[in-house]
Amino acid sequence: MASRQNPKPMTIDEGSVHIDPAVNKLKRILEGKPEPDFLPGEYIGNYTTIYNMCIQKPPHDQSQELYDKYGGIFEDYAKHTVLPSIMEKHDEYMLRELSRRWDINKIMVRWLSRFFFYLDRYFTVRRSLPSLTEVGMTSFRDHVYNNVHFNVKQVIIALVHKEREGQQIDRALLKNVLDLFVENGMGSIKRYEDDFEDFFLQESASYYSRRSSRWIQEDSCPEYMIKAEESLKKEKERVAHYLHSGTEPKLVDIVQTHLLVLVAKQLLEKENSGCSALLRDDKTDDLSRMYRLYHAIPKGLEPVAAAFRLHVTAEGNALIKQAEDAATSGSVEEQVLVRKIIDLHDKYMAYVMDCFQNDTLFHKALKEAFEIFCNKKVAGSSSAELLATFCDNLFRKAGNDKSNDDSTIESTIDNVVKLLDYISDKDLFVEFYRKKLARRLLFGRFNDDHERSILTKLKGQFGGQFTSKMEGMVTDMQLAKDHQTGFEEHIKNLPKGVDFTVTVLTTGFWPSYKTSDLNLPVEMVNCIESFKAYYAIKTNHKRLMWIYSLGTCNLTGRFDSKPIELIVSTYQAAVLCAFNNTDILTYQELLEQVNLSHEDLVRVLHSLSCAKYKFLNKQPASKTISKTDTFEFNSKFTDKMRRIKVCMRKFKKKKKEKTKLIMIVVKQVPLPPVDDRKKVVEDVDKDRRYAIDASLVRIMKSRKVLPHQQLVSECVEQLSRMFKPDIKMIKKRIEDLITRDYLERDTENPSTFKYVA
């Protein structure tokens, strides 16, 4: 041994004499052969040998040679021992051997790099060479890993397949081997990905593709979904146990794609068990599962929402068709239909809230579905009209039907407001509702609370302008009562005339009614005059317009056998009272005296002489009224009833004095329903034209210049709260505005409009 002061330079060969045995000893230890451990002295000795060789002054510095030797040790070992030992094995055994060898290698690197440590302190650093650890690991990679990874990968994939088929495998082993793949990437995940993951994903894809093909044929939708859910769960577990975490999203994506996305249509549309069937049969668990599964996939819910919408639309359309088929003589049973639609809405809204987790996609699908069938006409009636009729009947019967208590009515009102949201012709609804409201207020009993309640809710949903007229109408009724009390007070001290009730309405709120120049019997004229006087005292600047077509009278007919009280309209009363003074009158005489139009007079006379009760005898006694007829009071008339209400169709004759007269101004005798509907639609159309005009002018005034398409779409948007404007109508209004010089086409670009100030 050379002394410290004057060491004799050691050559690499001389050094190897010391090093080689140590290396072999290490190998034997690592391979599990019986071999005593290194003593501390031995360890230090090895280290020192190398140290000395490194610090020898050049040209005796052996660093390079040592470095090469170090590398050589690994290479040699890898090529001649490690690799063969792995290659001679198969399947799982190969994996085990690989894993073992890998562990050995790691330890060997650790030990040898300690022996050769001094190289790392100066040599590798100064020369920018790979460190000892790197060399050791690279050697394994280059000489072992690169040669075996392909086969290893095949084995792993086969094992995974086994596990997928239900068998147990050694997960820990796989984890080790796959960690090995990762670590051989030397900091990059690329080796793992290229050498294993890509193949694995491919294999998984085809596996699940085969699976899904089989399952989709054999299983029902719920069964399939359960299997899909299971598969996803298992794959995630697999990742947790032995795959690299980065594989998870890719694997999940593949499983979802093959099990759920590619077969979505088939799955959802499965007859008897698909989305439709589940919805129909209330299978909330399965629907929730469906939501969970598809929610995880980007845009995955779209086919589900589409299937949902289709189903709801089909159900809705079926209800409409049912109602159409059931409609007899053109009248629809709207009570039944609307209730069914409300129930449908509740049912499917429940699904949206529970199973579909209140997802906006499903809210939207529900809305779209309802908008489709709620806007269909049923046997000629629009949905707006049906809904208005429904409300009308609801409120009319409210008093009578004990089962309809307040809270039921309230919830029904809520539902009506919801349904109205889906109807595009909201302005049409308002018109029909207003007409019927008028009848309710004037002729029937109405419940102030209910009426106000629905108006408040409508106002909340659609704005004040929506309900302003109707609110005015309801308020009018209250004011009318006040007026009446005031009036009665006023005439208390005057000589007793006929009992007389007046309802004063504000024009503008109420639908428009025809007036006529009816010649009233003198007793009624006095009442009118006295009310006029009272009203003039009470208010200034307000003109009263009397609408006799809506009044009713109670007359007593003094017939031979017994007096009978008759409840008739004012028109009928006027005609009957004409016979107070003379028994016989011709049509012409009546016409002159009463001053009704031909149309009205014919109707009145018909109801009094050709219908069920004949108060007047007609000459000739045909079934229709002609202008040459003569009428005579039928004193022989009698009936078992003491009180008869006469509809316009059937007029009963009334004769002689009236002792009592109750007239309610502004009360409407029902017109035949078809004419009514046509008029409402016409009125609404007219209002729409004005609304479109106003909207177009408003838009152009603020924008000054706007292309056609934008103008149209902004107009539609502005008006959408009340109705869906017809594009053709908008175009027509635009042309009209051009003719009236509000707008002009741009000369350069004729599809752009300019506002003309």
Partner: protein
């Protein structure tokens, strides 16, 4: 006598004018006036040949006479083009100023020369820039009342035939067929009139593949389009 350079500012009061329609003259006291007045003389002589002596304008009768002299029918587009050149304001009547304007522009002063100038005039009018102006003019010319701004369908059919018939025969025939059977419109506005013209220029016919109901075409053309499609189906 030196010839005057420009003839464009020759507006002078004429001692022998019957009407006050040429008050747009600016008197110029150059020696050219004599020569110019002589030239104008010719035009006015010509004018007087056709004019109604009491009203001082050429009235429909006079125009008929003119037409027969020119050997064109009074429904010929060339007369309309002449009116356009004159900037005539009232259908069926030519004032003295209008007459002079046209003849000066055409550089003619006899009926024979006028006749010869008509084909040239037509060529000029048919230039795209001029034709659009002429087309719009044709509509305005037919308006009989100051407050009126639309023309009845019957007249429109005739006008279409006259103005566009030679260049867009196919379209005009179909338009006219449609206009006769439709009931939505009893009169036509300027906007619709111009719309026809743009249609003929921009839309391939009869396939109409580049037409769309979404665009800003007048509604009458939308209806025409749908009617055509129905026929073609």
């Amino acid at each position: 006598m030196p010839r005057t350079a420009s003839k464009t500012t020759r507006k002078r009061s004429k001692p022998y004018t019957v009407t006050s329609s040429d008050t747009d003259h600016v008197p110029s006291a150059s020696s050219k006036t004599k020569k110019s007045s002589k030239e104008n003389d010719e035009k006015y002589k010509l004018f007087n040949k056709y004019a109604n002596t009491s009203s001082g304008v050429i009235d429909p009768e006079g125009i008929e006479k003119l037409c027969s002299k020119l050997k064109v029918s009074h429904t010929d587009i060339k007369i309309l083009m002449l009116a356009w050149k004159m900037k005539s304001e009232r259908q069926g009547y030519f004032t003295k100023a209008e007459w002079r304007r046209a003849l000066k522009a055409l550089k003619v002063d006899t009926t024979k020369k006028l006749k010869k100038a008509l084909p040239e005039l037509e060529k000029e009018v048919r230039k795209p820039l001029n034709f659009a102006d002429f087309y719009a003019y044709a509509f305005r010319y037919c308006l009989t009342d100051e407050r009126q701004n639309c023309i009845d369908i019957e007249t429109i059919c005739q006008l279409l035939d006259m103005v566009l018939g030679s260049t867009f025969r196919d379209q005009v025939d179909h338009f006219v067929d449609y206009l006769k059977i439709q009931n939505d419109y009893k009169v036509s506005t300027m906007d619709q009139w111009m719309g026809f013209y743009r249609f003929c220029n921009e839309i391939s016919f009869p396939d109409m593949t580049n037409y769309s109901l979404e665009l800003a075409w007048p509604l009458i053309l939308d209806n025409f389009f749908e009617w055509m499609r129905e026929k073609q189906a």
